[in-house]
Structure formats: structure tokens, C-alpha cells
Amino acid sequence: MLENIFSDPTFQFVLFSAAKIAVVFGVVMTFVAYAVLVERKVSAAIQDRVGPNRTAPPLALKIPVLGRLLQRWGMFQPMADGLKFILKEDFTPAYVRTVYFWLAPAIAVIPAFLTLAVIPFGSTLGSQKMVIADLNVGILYTFGIVSLGVYGIVLAGWSSNSKYPFLGGIRSSAQMISYEIAMGMSVVSLFLIVGDLNLMNLIQWQADHGWLVLYQPVAFVIFLVSAFAETNRLPFDMPESESELIGGYHTEYSSMKFALFFLGEYANMIASSAMMVTLFFGGWSLPWLGKPAETLLGGLVHIGIFIAKMIVLMLVFIWVRWMLPRFRYDQLMDLGWRRFIPAALANIVATALGVALLNR
């Protein structure tokens, strides 16, 4: 009876999917925690500071050399941060629209994690494809989910019943909708070349023909900049812009609800880095390592390559934060609507012409 269930393909599918979801979720949560640490450390280095180097549980300091070293690197800081968020007072101001006020942080986090479902983070491990859902319309799904990310922010801004969050929410939703268009259009040209919307096949194509960033540098630049705008990171952190709007849409939030927004932002960052690795940098493949893995070790190596590429892109995200000052809001809109959308359209036309001429 039990063997029957285990050999049932539906059951196996559900089991392996659940396992993959759990692992991806766990890895991403760890990544979020340490991305915050890396961000703080890199920012500190760029600003001639030291960054977190003191937090450590008393027991860890008992370890002879390693304990002190980990403390210096701030490795225990994420735990302390998490604990702090949980222990802080969870305050709901009077006169907020309570239901939406409580719902908004959750809505902000969910899309970030849902996008990760279609991203192939490795080739194969044993007989399993290393992607949670191998969809035919993977990229469309991603954009659909990304477009839902606006709701969390809009609702947070509106339900706070306070002017700064409201301004932040309105700003950010306009910004995210605008840049979604440019982002979606920049990707179209990739699929004109590859001829498939499945992300697994896209990576395989890149493994055979070379990375798409070499074919489509314009699309990459547009996608990269739009990703900054979509994740509300500097230089486009208009919704939060702490010097003008106090904190934007999360001004009224505290404790775990605030932490969820924070989590959402970093999860978004991870998702868009992963997306860029998949779309432009060949996913799990390296120029001389293009075959789907046959052994377990090969599969793990592929996953490692993917994560390494992702980390590099996240460092770019963090670094750019200090390279440019914040854009003014009209400059941001101008850039999105009058530079990037025409550029993306021109890129599509040029690519279509190229593909048509070459395939004749």
C-alpha cells in the first residue's frame, strides 16, 4: 500500500515540489538575513565606517579564535535584528483602516516569494528539474506576479491614514506600473531571439549559444534599471525617500509588520537578481559547462554557479545605492516613459528585423 503511494507520479510530484519549495524558502530567508548584513558592511566600507562588529551571543565568544572573528564580521547580527523585530512593540495607530493595515505587509511579501517559483536555480539533481514550476509561460507568470506587488504598498499607504505614507504609496505605485512596461518590453526581444517562453529552455539556449547579455546589451541595461525601480532601491527609492517622506509607505509600521516590508524588499531584490541571472547571464550554465548535470555533484555545482552569479548581481544592487543620488520624481518618470519605453520598443523592432533577416 505504502509503496503504491510512493510510486504514484502525482504523489511524487507533490512531495518533490513541497521539498523544493521548503528548501528555496529556507535558502531565500537566510539570504535575506545575510543580504541585510552584507548591505550594512559594504555600505559601511564605502562610507569609511566599520559596520556591525559587536553582536555575539556570550556562548559564541567561548570558541577560541572563530568566535571573535565571526563577531568582527557581524555574523550574528541578523539573528539579533530578527529577534529585535519580534520583541518590539507591535503598535497599531488609532484611525488606521485596521484590516488593510494588517493585511498590507503580508501582501507586500507574498509576490516576492511567488516569483521565485519559476526560476530555474539549477539544471537537474538526480531526476528532478531544479525549478519549482516548469511553466510554458514562465516569464509572463513572473510579470503577472510582480505586478501584484503594487498592492501591498498602495494599501499600506492608504490604510495608514496619514499623509506621508499616502504620498509614498501613490508615488511608488505610479513608479512600479511605469517601469513594469519598460521591463516587460525589454524582455520581449530576448524571446524573439530564443523563440520560447520557458525559462529552462532559455537557459539551455544560452548554454549552447552564449549569454544573452552579449546579444541584447540594451535590453539588459533597461531591465537592470527597471529592476532598481521595481524593487524601490536607490537611486529610485522614491516611495521611501526618508529625507522627504520620513519613511514613505511604512512610516506608521512597527515591529514585525515593518520587518515584513523589509523582508519583501530584500526578497524582491533576490528575485530580480535571480531573474537577471536567468535571463541574461545563462542561469546555471558557464560557457564551458552547458550540459544539464548527470550526477548529483554536477547538479550541486550548477546550483552553486547560479547562486554565485546571483550574489554578484546583489552586490551590484548594494553598490549602486551609494553611486548615485536619488532622482527627482519627474526625472524618474521622464526616464521611464520617454527614454526607456521608446528604447525598448526600438530594441524590439531592431531585434525582430535581425531575427527575420538571419532566419531567411
Binding site: 502525482t10 488593510y100 511553466l135 510554458n136 509561460v137 509572463l140 507568470y141 510579470f143 503577472g144 506576479i145 510582480v146 505586478s147 501584484l148 503594487v150 498592492y151 498602495v154 494599501l155 492608504w158 499616502f166 501613490i170 505605485s173 506600473i177 513594469e180 517562453l197
Partner: protein, 170 residues
């Protein structure tokens, strides 16, 4: 034993109808934002139904266009206009009663008629996949002219919306 897809059908259909009902006639709240949020949920569960019907492309487009763009536009307008009025007004009981009765009648007739619907083609043959490739082929071959007309419609709509939302026409 029922198939997994059938269970999913009932789940999604139930969700669609429930959220749809809560969107139009929520007994707890007459706030337009609540309506909008439930409409988003309706649309998302409908995308689930589309997936069950093998229309993957449309499911994605449904979420992308309706949930991602149209409903955000609605939310925008609701928040900008700051509508609180309807919540305060009393409903006209007679109108509501008669309206609901009419709608119930229509629903009865429709369900009665549609319950006997059969497809033109006998079941059993392989269902078509609503893949992007196939859809694109049909769209750009048999439906090329409507497609072009549609693009003009979009342009007209864009110009119209911009003109309407300008402050004052001089």
C-alpha cells in the same frame, strides 16, 4: 474517485463566485476599496480556471492586465477621489429587493438553459493547448485586421484619457 483537476475546478469556481459576491454585495463593508480587492481575488481565481482550461497564456495575461494594471488604476481613482459617501447612504430597500429578484430570475433561466450544453465536438480527442505560439499564429494570421484595429483603439483610448484628465481645455 474524483480527479484532481475536478477538485481544483470546484475549488476555483467556488472561490470565484464567493469573491465575486463579496465584491458586489459585501454585507460587511460598502467600501469601494474592499470591492476592488475582492475583484482582484476573483480575477486571480479565474486565472486558475483558465489554467484548468489549458489557456496558460490567457491566465498570465489575465493576472498581468486585470490584476496588475486595471485594478491598480481603480484603486488609484478610489484613493484620489476619497469616496466615503456611499458608505453613509441608505440603500433603497425596494430597489434592492426588486433588482435582486430580477437577477435571481435571470440566473435561474441561464442555469436552466446552460445545464444542457454540449460541445460541438465529442469529448475524448486531444484538447488544444493555449500556448503562446499557437495563439500568436492565429492572432497574426486569421485575426490580423482586428488586431490592427485594436491597436488603433488603444491609441484612441490613450489620447482620450489624456485629454479628459487635463485640467481645462482651452
Amino acid at each position: 474517485m474524483p480527479q484532481l483537476t475536478d477538485l481544483l475546478f470546484y475549488a476555483f469556481a467556488g472561490m470565484t463566485l464567493l469573491f465575486g459576491f463579496l465584491c458586489v454585495a459585501n454585507p460587511l463593508s460598502r467600501n469601494p476599496v474592499t470591492s476592488a480587492m475582492f475583484l482582484v481575488l476573483t480575477i486571480i481565481s479565474m486565472a486558475g480556471l483558465f489554467v484548468l482550461l489549458h489557456a496558460f497564456f490567457l491566465a498570465a495575461v489575465q493576472i498581468l492586465v486585470y490584476a496588475g494594471a486595471v485594478m491598480v488604476l481603480f484603486l488609484f481613482v478610489i484613493m484620489l477621489l476619497d469616496l466615503k459617501e456611499e458608505e453613509r447612504r441608505k440603500l433603497n430597500k425596494v430597489a434592492v429587493g426588486l433588482g435582486s429578484l430580477a437577477v435571481l430570475g435571470l440566473a435561474g433561466v441561464l442555469v436552466r438553459v446552460l445545464a444542457g450544453a454540449t460541445p460541438l465536438i465529442a469529448a475524448g480527442s486531444k484538447p488544444v493547448e493555449g500556448s503562446t505560439r499557437e495563439l500568436g499564429r492565429i492572432l497574426f494570421q486569421s485575426y490580423l485586421l482586428p488586431f490592427e484595429i485594436l491597436s488603433i483603439l488603444l491609441l484612441v483610448a490613450m489620447v482620450g484619457a489624456i485629454l479628459l484628465s487635463k485640467k481645462e481645455l482651452k
